[in-house]
Symmetry: C2
Subunit: 887 residues, 2 copies
Amino acid sequence: MTKWVYTFGDGTAEGEASMKNLLGGKGANLAEMSRVGVPVPPGFTITTEVCTYYYENNHTYPVELKDQVMAALHGIEEKMGRKFGDETNPLLFSVRSGARVSMPGMMDTVLNLGLNDKTVLGLAARSGNEKFAYDSYRRFIQMYGDVVMGVHSSKFEAVLDEVRETNGYKFDNQMTVEQLKDVVEKFKDICAKDGHPLPQDPMEQLWGGIGAVFKSWMVDRAIYYRKLNNIPGDWGTAVNVQTMVFGNSGDNSATGVCFSRDPATGENYFYGEYLKNAQGEDVVAGIRTPQPMTIFAKEKGNIDLPAMEEEFPELYKQLADIRAKLEAHYKDMQDMEFTIQDGKLWMLQTRNGKRTGTAALKIAVDMVREGLIDKRMAVMRVEAGQLDQLLHPMFDKKAKRESFARGLPASPGAAVGQIVFSAEDAEKAVHEGKKVVLVRIETSPEDIAGMHVSQGILTARGGMTSHAAVVARGMGKPCVSGVADLRIDYDGKFLKAGDVILKEGDMISIDGTTGEVMAGALPLVLPEMTGDFGEFMTWVDEIRTLGVRTNAETPLDAKTARGFGAEGIGLCRTEHMFFDPARINHMRQMILANTEADRRAALDKLLPYQRQDFIDLFTIMEGLPVTIRFLDPPLHEFLPNKREEQVEIAQALGVPVEEIAARTAKLHEANPMLGHRGCRLGVTYPEIYEMQAQAVFEAAVSVIKSTGKAIVPEIMIPLVGTKKELDLMKAAVVKMADMVMKQSGTTFEYHVGTMIELPRAAITADKIAETAEFFSFGTNDLTQTTLGMSRDDAGAFLPEYVAKGIYNADPFASLDQEGVGALVEIAVQKGKATRPNIKLGICGEHGGDPETIDFCHRVGLTYVSCSPYRVPIARLAAAQAAVRNAK
Amino acid sequence: MTKWVYTFGDGTAEGEASMKNLLGGKGANLAEMSRVGVPVPPGFTITTEVCTYYYENNHTYPVELKDQVMAALHGIEEKMGRKFGDETNPLLFSVRSGARVSMPGMMDTVLNLGLNDKTVLGLAARSGNEKFAYDSYRRFIQMYGDVVMGVHSSKFEAVLDEVRETNGYKFDNQMTVEQLKDVVEKFKDICAKDGHPLPQDPMEQLWGGIGAVFKSWMVDRAIYYRKLNNIPGDWGTAVNVQTMVFGNSGDNSATGVCFSRDPATGENYFYGEYLKNAQGEDVVAGIRTPQPMTIFAKEKGNIDLPAMEEEFPELYKQLADIRAKLEAHYKDMQDMEFTIQDGKLWMLQTRNGKRTGTAALKIAVDMVREGLIDKRMAVMRVEAGQLDQLLHPMFDKKAKRESFARGLPASPGAAVGQIVFSAEDAEKAVHEGKKVVLVRIETSPEDIAGMHVSQGILTARGGMTSHAAVVARGMGKPCVSGVADLRIDYDGKFLKAGDVILKEGDMISIDGTTGEVMAGALPLVLPEMTGDFGEFMTWVDEIRTLGVRTNAETPLDAKTARGFGAEGIGLCRTEHMFFDPARINHMRQMILANTEADRRAALDKLLPYQRQDFIDLFTIMEGLPVTIRFLDPPLHEFLPNKREEQVEIAQALGVPVEEIAARTAKLHEANPMLGHRGCRLGVTYPEIYEMQAQAVFEAAVSVIKSTGKAIVPEIMIPLVGTKKELDLMKAAVVKMADMVMKQSGTTFEYHVGTMIELPRAAITADKIAETAEFFSFGTNDLTQTTLGMSRDDAGAFLPEYVAKGIYNADPFASLDQEGVGALVEIAVQKGKATRPNIKLGICGEHGGDPETIDFCHRVGLTYVSCSPYRVPIARLAAAQAAVRNAK
């Protein structure tokens, strides 16, 4: 028979901390606390499996549940020496949700369950505190009405408002017993009028509460929260039924929420708040100002209220011991709830506390120093994504923010500036000393210079991997993309979203971490970087086995990435080098050429530029590996579509505009992503790749000569689908290497490898590895082809796909391990079968995603490569993968 | 030691017929003929491995080759009692190429090798025929000069022309001895002046001849031929060195080429031609009119020349016996060459004869009746592709054709008509009783009606699987696509290619079988269909295990396909039904709708049309399976891009044109192939698929009621990448099925399955099969995604890819088995692992390709589905696959 119910309390428990999946986080920790001798009000947990059963069986429970609940309930009655529903000495319960991971405030809770018109009398008599009894009853009716019976809370609040107003009360605890009794009657009337009279039978109340918790798993806000946090819907929630203890039963009672260390800064002092004579939600709700835990905190915060340490010195000491005990037990910072009832301390909850990135880092480093955890555990304590907080400027959290539009958090960080609507305007304004935010419908490669000088980028279209998003992340610039509500009028130079209209020059603030867009200039704060950061990262580097490189093609990017600890360049996209104004017309001449000779003439002009690019990169990287991807995009990306631009270029190049228009039309493609690009350009125009190879090798020779360092270029051929393509391209590269060696009288090492970015390449990787010396998984394109999904177009349906759980996350942000990952695994196995020492990297956007990095570690890649600002995150994620997958 | 040389002749041979890969077709058959006792002039074969060696080792031979050739040569000298280079009784050789498969006229031959200024005297003395000797010598010099030394043939021809003219000769055999001697001297002078004096050393001549054959493997015309016929370049050619026998050594000598049956009609009589006192090339060259073999042929052909049966009755009888012997031995129609020298018959070659489709069919059927072969062998004797010849009208082969442009043979058959440049013009002209050929830069779905009424379609752009090509094949209409040289001026209403300009209304002829385009109206002939065809196809159906369905959505297509033996519909593309003028505006209304309610209102109007479509198909298919694919293309395909069309539609729909323009712009996609289409439409707009499901099920109920037949619709969800997508779509379908069953009071069976057309679907097929009751491999899209290659754009590089051997064939025409096929195999294995009885089909263009069909048989698919006109071909290919892969 399945065990659906687990009891706890009184120094024993059927469950334990490791049973989070079954008991939820709260239930598992209540059991664990019971086991280690912390005083916990007795109770029982109904497992998450009941929740799953409930949703799979048309909202019904397993048949055995009722008996198991009754048995557990009787056990509690025995322990407490009181009975549920007893009219003289009633046992009361709280009913709370508890999923595997904390979903704060997302699901429902009912307290004081078991009160009715008769038991309230018993409670009053027994406690000798009639006011407390009726206060508890009115709270119960409001919660139960709202949570279980769906009576709108505002109806109850209206009654309370009236009492407060009539009597000039500031706080609810100012109400008299008579007033509370009156409120109770009015609340019951409200329920009855709403068609939901309050059940007087405690058992009916209990099952109503249990049902409400299970139902709350599927309310919109819970679904939304899970979506935001990638929590699968089939995990379900547990229900915790626990003996009520009352922090509001008199002045010798209290309730509080505390952390074993400061969750904002990580400092090691007892952090928290409590309220005398109050129930838990009073602390959270902020109706009364809570008091600090310690004298230290009181002084630190300049607080004018007594600390618990002063008011309840004995109990404080007991609590401080528990704090120490639990932190030592869990070896992590604890977030605890406690209640003091009539001078007795009860712990209601403990869990690992949420914390800021700054705090996470400090706590981890401190705990290592304290000998509480080792370095391997420490690196697990900072979420890789949290490092972002340490790397980008942020809005001051204290500032009030009112967003008028929201898009995708495309590149983290905060930006404030004057609105400009074109890249040229951005450059002009910045030249005049202004700070600007570039607002575009979408961006294109021609906007890069303008993006570079802007504080941030805001686009109406495009997803997490749109041009704007990718380039912004690469630059470490905040970006909000895909703001669907945004209307941009380039001619009128204004933007509109809802009622808000902003003109060119108006201040705007964008939060690339949340996707919010605000009018005006919000205050910014600089990220806090402590000395611990550096030390922590040395541990990270000791632990990880996966290399971390960067995607970079400019000297600035390369320098930034090295500063962040990149161990080489994993992807240098050479085409980005051709968009420079000094070069693009040579590129266009090359494209317009009708003969190989004309193409070669134009390429000859590009050669010195390319060579200098590589000299710069090799010099900065000082012998670290540099992987250079040859020209990848379709040639039409270099030609303009608009007539006026065509005219301009025709004049610049001295050719008839019709020629440019005709070539542009001829190069037009229905699906450019699947078109004449990558090595297909190299196959049809070998001279392009020959020029690039020559530039790479001549640059290598130059830097070898000038620095004496060994420069070992890695040349990467894109979009390979067959071994034969790579054979042809490798032959061209080898030819140029031989030529440069001969001409320079210098020998050098180099490697030729390929992107694996087509399913065909993955599936025939054994053959391709006969020629390829390394693979780099281009997971952007591999995702597009494997899923048959254009990242430029997926915005129309992908949000709905994620909402409906078809994909757990945006597959362009976090690798689709089941599909794309399976192909990567096949390619790794096949590649290693042919060439056991083959170097394996990943250079798609996914290379900076912690979950993907864990995958990369597991399948045995050599390194990941990501944008410069993601490098520290990738290093940490790699270390965490090493710890997580050890043994 | 490797054996590089194999001898034959005189009743024995070192090789045999099965060694074609090593000895080439000719060499293997010469060996085989020797073995079975047919008189063959002794000789030896240098293996194809020498050719491979030659090209892999910088044009050198294996060291052992020389000794092995010398040994073989001495063996022949012994057998013949003559010596190579002997001045009194010289042995002469022919040197011929011979690849695994016949490449007629593609490679080089040298005859009479061993003649020089001295041996010619010996030949003259020994034969007593000085004229013959010098005639042989002058032939040798011309051949050797041309083939081995690269002296242009026209220089020799000029000398011969002068002799003919001066003396008024019609034929070369009118030349006198003195004239021949003079020619010989002049020929030697030509060689010497060209810098290539004729070698007098017979051994030098021999090695020159051998080298010339190996070199000829890589000349342009041979490479081109191999490319056309999918013959790998690394097969190489063998070289056959064989004792010369002379059909031109007097009136008791002759030479001939004959077939054991008529290769054009397949009739069983001795077909062929011979010439008295002539060498082989005289027969082929057509200088003299050859004579028939038999009196029967003489009378049949109304020929005024004596038959061999009359002139050489004894030798004829011997040859006829050999004909019977060889046909019985090879069990196939033979193509033979023979020579009579001084009254002795020698066989120079036999091979399975090439034949027309008509002949192939007749010979196969006759041979079964004769008990020579069984039915399984018979079905192997007709190339599946040849059946096309029996199904489409053709140009009269006797008519002279001069093509002015050439494109891709996109849909076979011949078409003649007046040129029109738009689909509307086509409809108008046909309405006026004209026959037209539609000429477009490329076609789009809006052109379908115009394509339907045209005789054929000619496009400047697009490959074998462009819209024009696919639709034309589906309609069984001839189509030539991708004529790169073609300039089309829609405004001026003319086309231009090279110097040729044709205007609207001018007659044009296109050959969809060859890709040729001709001005004017070429005469057409109807395909010959004999009664044998039907019988043959019953054998085909007995043997094959693979089902054959058709891709069809119109009643006409469905009827045509059933006539061709389709066993169901494997792909009914419902979107084609929405382009009908009566419906498209409802479709557009649906697309323009802003709410689900508005969409449902528009869909309600489409429902009756869809229902009737399915009623028609179910009625025609009489209970055969019908697989209906739900809406697949992106919605923007239904909206016009041009302003004037938008205006028109806005008026028709009564909405502002701006609304249409805005929606069109919003729906625009960068890569529509990877965009918001397939089941992604079903996920975001479930009401569309619900309407389609309702139409399918209501149609099924209607036909079940009207015919009493069991109609079992198969509903196919397109572009599925994850199980969850299919779960959602299947749930919607099941809901509608339940509703229709309830409303109609009828129960019916149905199946829900999916296309496997994304790599992700293939790689997760085990999971998808939990929901899918059948898979249909959509290999068009699976090829596009696996290869990352847009079929609309591949024209820019694919020809070069095929030319460079990166792909052996167009992967959109014949399945890329190594890449795409590997994914299909994975999906088959995974699908069967989950659901052992899962139905597996293929419905891409590849479903009609014989090589792909063989693959489908091997991997264990249930059926293939192809366009109606390919159905007989697919049936035959399926039977051949069964035979080929038996055991």
